[in-house]
Symmetry: C2
Subunit: 402 residues, 2 copies
């Protein structure tokens, strides 16, 4: 078996944890498996590097930020190789140049294009554990790039695809994917299996165990993922194409408190209005999430949408600057909202899922601001103050009977 294992920054945060990860990998290696390990930068090291950079230049060139960031993972893999050597196992660390890990040219947010597997295969044949720097790549200019948020997961999935690995294990500090955030919902349950699409919706909706780009890539290349804890030997959650049909109606309830709502009131009810409005935001690279359009009075319409709280002020400003052109009556920003979603492939063939969710919220006294649905997802916008009782109520409604 060829196994790709990915460990995040917390898992390699100090010498003791590095040895824990090393032992875990050696276990698989000693069973005769080929083992490739993808590592992130240690604990808060990336933040330390950002601080160093900001001290010198508040707006450092992105190319140079990537040049600085990439040292973090190189430190992790080098130290891990030393730990494995100490434990008597041959290991070798490789950075993005050595692999090589080809990406698009955009610094700070590059996408993987192609991975050369020759060096890795050579080292595996030599019976070494191969340690690869996550998150980083090189572009056509022979410069370092980084893959953006959750980049190390993407590295692991891409490596698993390129090497035709038999397994791709993503180690985190939780046991797997839960029906809801266990810190919010006491009786949240770990899922044994989940589909790529469900996982994608959960990732996008703020469940945050896996970054959506890595899930998209796993789906595209059919890489079966296992999400499991680096702290215990529990089974974890398998992410794959098809899951047991006898499973629960929904796979999870996700809460995203980092959403703000912007409402544009009294737009003229004429064609192209929505395009004009969202074009203003697209040009500022502002991602819009849930969109709701409603008919107002006197041939006007209102458009409300959610944006990430980090972009809300910028979005508001951009729309206010275009007030004359968009010709709306009023605009407002509401920051104390949260997005609550249920996700599940099962709801496609089960009418009434949305109604059940709304009922549970009504019973809990939670007011619904906006509603948005897809084939496998129902999302509602609620007041942020209601979020904890809302997630518990919805979770209870769907999971209690299970």
């Amino acid at each position: 078996m060829l196994i790709v294992k990915k460990f995040g920054g917390t898992s390699v945060g100090n010498a003791e944890r590095i040895f824990n990860v090393a032992r875990r990998c050696i276990e698989d290696y000693n069973k005769g498996n080929d083992v490739v390990v993808v590592l992130s930068a240690m604990g808060k090291y990336t933040d330390e590097l950002i601080d160093k950079a900001k001290e010198i230049n508040e707006k450092p060139p992105k190319r140079e930020m990537d040049m600085l960031f990439t040292i973090g993972e190189q430190m992790s893999v080098a130290l891990m190789a030393m730990a494995m050597d100490k434990l008597g196992v041959r290991a070798i660390s490789l950075n993005a140049f050595q692999v090589a890990m080809h990406t698009t040219s955009q610094y700070g947010n590059a996408r993987l294009k192609r991975i050369d597997t020759e060096r890795i295969r050579h080292e595996l044949e030599d019976r070494k554990i191969v340690l690869v720097t996550g998150f980083q790549g090189i572009n056509k200019y022979d410069d370092y790039t980084t893959l953006g948020r959750g980049g190390s997961d993407t590295t692991a999935v891409a490596l698993a695809a390129a090497l035709h690995a038999d397994a791709c294990e993503i180690y985190t500090d939780v046991d797997g994917v839960y029906t809801a955030d266990p810190r919010l919902v006491k009786n949240a349950k770990k899922l044994d299996e989940i589909t790529y699409d469900e996982m994608l919706d959960l990732a996008t909706l703020g469940a945050g165990v896996l970054h959506n780009r890595s899930v998209e890539m796993a789906k595209k290349y059919g890489v079966q993922l296992v999400v499991r804890s680096s702290l215990n030997n529990n089974e974890g959650t398998v992410v794959k194409e098809d899951v047991n049909v006898e499973r629960m109606l929904i796979s999870g309830v996700a809460l995203d408190r980092e959403a703000d709502r912007i409402s544009v009131i009294g737009l003229k009810d004429e064609p192209g209005m929505a395009f004009k409005l969202f074009d203003v935001l697209a040009k500022k690279h502002i991602n819009v999430d849930v969109i709701l359009q409603s008919i107002g009075r006197h041939n006007t319409k209102d458009i409300s949408f959610t944006v990430a709280d980090t972009q809300a002020d910028e979005a508001l400003k951009a729309l206010q600057a275009n007030k004359a052109r968009l010709n709306y009556q009023d605009i407002s920003l509401k920051k104390d909202v949260a997005k609550l979603s249920i996700v599940g492939a099962g709801m496609m063939s089960n009418p009434g899922v949305a109604a059940k969710m709304f009922e549970s919220l009504y019973n809990a006294g939670v007011n619904i601001n906006m509603i948005s649905t897809s084939e496998i997802r129902v999302t509602v916008l609620i007041n942020e103050a209601d979020s904890e009782k809302a997630i518990q109520a919805v979770h209870d409604a769907f999971m209690a009977e299970d």
Copy 2:
């Protein structure tokens, strides 16, 4: 003009110093020069990395140590690029892969073989200041290597040679090369010029401004060096092939306290004895310095030699382990000795230089243990306790009249 400038770890030890170096480089750049800057790792960063490694493995694999070490210079060049950007100048950082900087394969102590200049020339043509990681290279396996002590000086000289630079400036925390260590000898004078050979002897003998490998390379490729301070605009010392003939008899007095003496007493006076003895040490990679052989009584001979104090105990042990084979009567290690040397191309054509040195030591009441000479150097071994009065006395004898 194409100028290669090298700054050591102290010069880039914090944000303020990084900006100082940046401004200094930009000054030359703004005059229309092409500027290539070689940087070491920041201040004590390499020591921090060693600590991190030792915490995990007291004897880490050298390949992985180099993988770890190389992040130090990468941090320096990335931060420097950010500082120059902040000052409004375009700069680009390059590591050993990006240059590329080809070395022999030996980890921890590689030698530069070939430097590709294409990328650097391209960036210079683009009117960027090019920042290159010192100390590091890549070998034929596509692995990082490091160049050993003083490696960044070597990188700078090699780059200057490969790029046919018009100047190679080595910045340190002193004004240049002095006739003696200014901390020991109050009236020590800065030299305006010095030959490669003199500089080599001074480097080897513990004056320590430049590492000898970089001087050897400068001599081989005819790269004229300037050693100057990063803290002021003083002229510094030029290191080149020929210097003004009207100059002083000697160029400097060097003191090396890090020498120990080992004496092997009563070896059989037969051919091959010296070979056998030094072969034992060579096999342990112990460098022997000054060697003195003297005739003892009853067909025996004594051999004394100096070794670096870090290797003295190992040398003693190796020789004791081979006592039967070497068949000597006694062996002793003396740690409280120091090596005092005068260096000067002028002494070749001036007899009596050695005598003058011995006279000055005699007048100062300093006993001489051993003497060793070369064409441009006289070295004596003295008691370490005498070292300060000895260096002052010798310096006065040669420099006072000047």
